[in-house]
């Protein structure tokens, strides 16, 4: 075990507190379809890199090449900051490159019917809330944005209220993630290092760490 994390830890931790994310507003971009996997969001060849830089250029690259009508090719959605998706978005690979690419492309929130756990967690850790709403509400929002791409959408983190023009519905975030966004503690490293002596204590009680 490395004890040198040591004395500067508290200072490090306090500098790590991230910004509270209370609400997100902006224009939407609807991507329809269930079970859209992270290989489609970010094909594996773009993972051959030691940084996340430039990933914004490759979001849905193969889907966009295959379909000129793909919403990410549609200039009407330029400048959108809220992605609107259907069920099980982000399934498959745990590659953080997928939410990194989406966030780096200017998106500040995702609204969908459901998400894979790993994707939702990866997105949360980089400050990208994934709101969950029912099928009817999400498809209504997608249809609204397809008809009027300039409509402004607001997603309130604490209440889960989504508003867009005259459309209003309730969405949700897992309560721990919601509270983390509201309190600005969505980047957990600081909390995990906060009481490192308790980590050592748990490790010291585990038979396999003690060599049985």
């Amino acid at each position: 075990m490395n004890n040198s994390q040591g004395s500067s830890l508290k200072a490090q931790v306090s500098s790590l507190n991230s910004q509270a994310i209370l609400s997100v507003s902006g224009r939407g971009l609807p991507v329809r379809g269930n079970d859209i996997d992270t290989d489609r969001i970010m094909p594996a060849r773009f993972l051959v890199s030691v940084s996340f830089e430039g990933l914004e250029r490759h979001v849905f690259e193969d889907d966009r090449a295959a379909d000129p009508m793909h919403p990410f090719n549609d200039p009407r959605y330029t400048g959108a900051s809220i992605l609107i998706v259907n069920a099980n978005f982000g399934c498959g690979s745990s590659r953080e490159h997928a939410p990194q690419g989406i966030a780096r492309a200017g998106f500040r929130a995702v609204i969908g019917e459901s998400f894979s756990e790993i994707f939702q967690g990866n997105a949360a850790v980089i400050g990208l809330p994934c709101f969950v709403a029912d099928h009817d509400a999400v498809t209504q929002l997608q249809t609204l944005v397809e008809r009027t791409p300039e409509v402004n959408i607001t997603a309130d983190v604490a209440s889960g209220a989504i508003t867009a023009g005259s459309l209003r519905f309730d969405a949700s975030l897992p309560s721990a993630l919601r509270d983390a966004f509201v309190s600005g503690q969505w980047n957990p490293t600081a909390m995990l290092l906060d009481r490192f002596e308790e980590v050592r204590a748990v490790a010291g009680r585990l038979p396999y760490i003690r060599g049985f």
Binding site: N88, G121, S183, N187, L192, R195, V199
Partner: protein, 462 residues
């Protein structure tokens, strides 16, 4: 009180409840590889943090490695940079790293169990979704993203919400020609690719009880394809026998004490589950995916069913009502963390011995680790495959995800023993993947098209 292995392991590793409401969970074993870690080490350096538990961290090179003989530096300059980055990061932090010149190198989810690093009652994390594989030995193993890799490196902990537990029971004997791969494809087909979200899958029943660890690894590996981040089998005599004598397993008296603890960690009779599902082994037949997610599969004797408007039909070139048998293939791939273990290669070799790959098919065998490669070569399997027209390659992830030079081209159809049939998964944006057992891949390679392995097995000596 009767409890599940999941809850016992969770409680033994819970450090505290975080202000966010999540649980801070200690990670007993952190496995790392070249793809999802360079950025995590960079973040650590930015904050001046050190790796908290380097002795609980192990590294290998698997995703981007070429499987044909190549000297460093690799021809792919980015792959070389990732490799050099992993070497530097591991050296600086004091983390053991198994490179191509090391006997222990291989796919991270193959070497963990093989070396005895993976043990019952542990929490395990790795920046790869197939980390669920390690549950086959009774560990609780989480696939994580790169920022979480940073968290584990810095604190040896994760911030997580607890999962519900679904007991999936498979009972009875599997018919000849039906393998663990068919069982998990059938489970995912019934429960859906999203069915496991929010759950850990506990696999049990007489079919699982009778399975080898290799077979259980195949089952747990694909839990994530059913949406379940975690899958496990309770440790039993099969588990203990598998672990005894492995390099990182406890030895001597410590092994006996370990077995005592491992038994205690298994789910108790009468434990409560959030959900239960049962399957009849006799009803499972060789299964092949026809679509673009692992839930879109069909038994070889059934017609493909589904909404004709589903994009999977147009992409794959299938139509509802057709059978998957008779589908011409271009490539056959035997390997991956799902089915790249010795028993997989042995079964495939049994089928191809004395036959030859169809003229239009490119076929490759990629062992899951160097240890498997050596064991297979000691049994002469490499020669069996070569004589049958297969390429015998070095260990790595290879064509499961095409991050190395092994990729499909254009609209090629690949019979694959891997885990994902997503669009573009095998390196060509328009390439098509048919997931199936290694035996089915071997049979398809010989026939040049998808065939029911049971019809071939009848003519094969046991």
């Amino acid at each position: 009180m009767a409890d599940t292995l999941f809850h016992k392991v969770w409680n033994a590793h819970a450090v505290r409840r975080l202000p966010s409401g999540q649980t801070q969970l200690f990670v007993g074993l952190h496995l790392i590889h070249e793809v999802t870690t360079p950025q995590a080490f960079d973040m650590l350096r930015q904050h001046g943090w050190r790796v908290a538990f380097p002795e609980r961290t192990f590294a290998t090179l698997d995703h981007i490695v070429p499987t044909t003989p190549q000297k460093r530096p690799f021809l792919d300059l980015m792959a070389e940079e990732m490799t050099a980055s992993l070497e530097r990061n591991c050296r600086d932090a004091g983390i053991p790293l198994w490179m191509l010149d090391a006997d222990n190198q291989g796919i991270v989810h193959v070497i963990g169990p093989e070396l005895g690093l993976t043990q019952p009652g542990m929490t395990i994390a790795c920046g790869d979704s197939h980390t669920s594989t390690h549950g086959a030995l009774g560990a609780i193993a989480f696939g994580i993203g790169t920022s979480q890799v940073r968290d584990v490196l810095a604190s040896q902990c994760l911030a997580l919400d607890p999962l519900k537990v679904r007991r999936i029971e498979v009972n009875g004997r599997l018919n000849p020609g039906v393998y663990a791969k068919d069982v998990i494809l059938t489970i995912i087909r019934r429960l859906g690719v999203q069915g496991g979200v929010g759950f850990a899958y506990e696999y049990g029943g007489t079919t699982l009880d009778a399975m080898t660890i290799d077979e259980r690894l195949t089952i747990c590996n694909m839990s994530i394809e059913g949406g379940a981040r975690v899958g496990y089998v309770n440790p039993d005599e099969t588990t203990f026998a598998y672990l005894r004598g492995r390099p990182f397993a406890p030895a001597g008296d410590a092994f006996e004490r370990a077995v005592h603890w491992w038994r205690q960690m298994a789910s108790d009779p009468g434990a409560r589950y959030d959900d239960r599902v049962t399957f009849d082994a006799a009803g499972i037949e060789p299964t092949v995916t026809w679509g673009i997610n692992p839930g879109q599969s069909v038994g070889v004797s059934e017609p493909i069913a589904g909404d004709p408007a589903d994009e999977a039909f147009a992409f794959m070139g299938f139509t509802p009502g057709r059978r998957v048998t008779g589908t011409k293939i271009d490539v056959a791939f035997i390997g991956s963390c799902t089915n790249g273990r010795l028993s997989d290669l042995e079964e495939a070799a049994r089928l191809v011995r004395g036959h030859h790959v169809a003229r239009h098919v490119t076929a490759l065998v990629v062992p899951g680790s160097q240890a498997i490669s050596r064991a297979a070569e000691a049994r002469g399997l490499d020669e069996v495959f070569r004589q049958a027209g297969f390429e015998w390659r070095g260990a790595g992830c290879s064509m499961c995800l095409g991050m190395n030079p092994d990729r499909l081209e254009g609209r090629q159809v690949c019979a694959s023993s891997s885990n994902r049939n997503f669009k573009g998964r095998q390196g060509s944006p328009t390439g098509r993947t048919l997931l199936m057992s290694p035996a089915m891949v071997a049979a398809a390679a010989i026939a040049g098209e998808v065939v029911d392995v049971r019809t071939v097995l009848e003519a094969v000596p046991a």
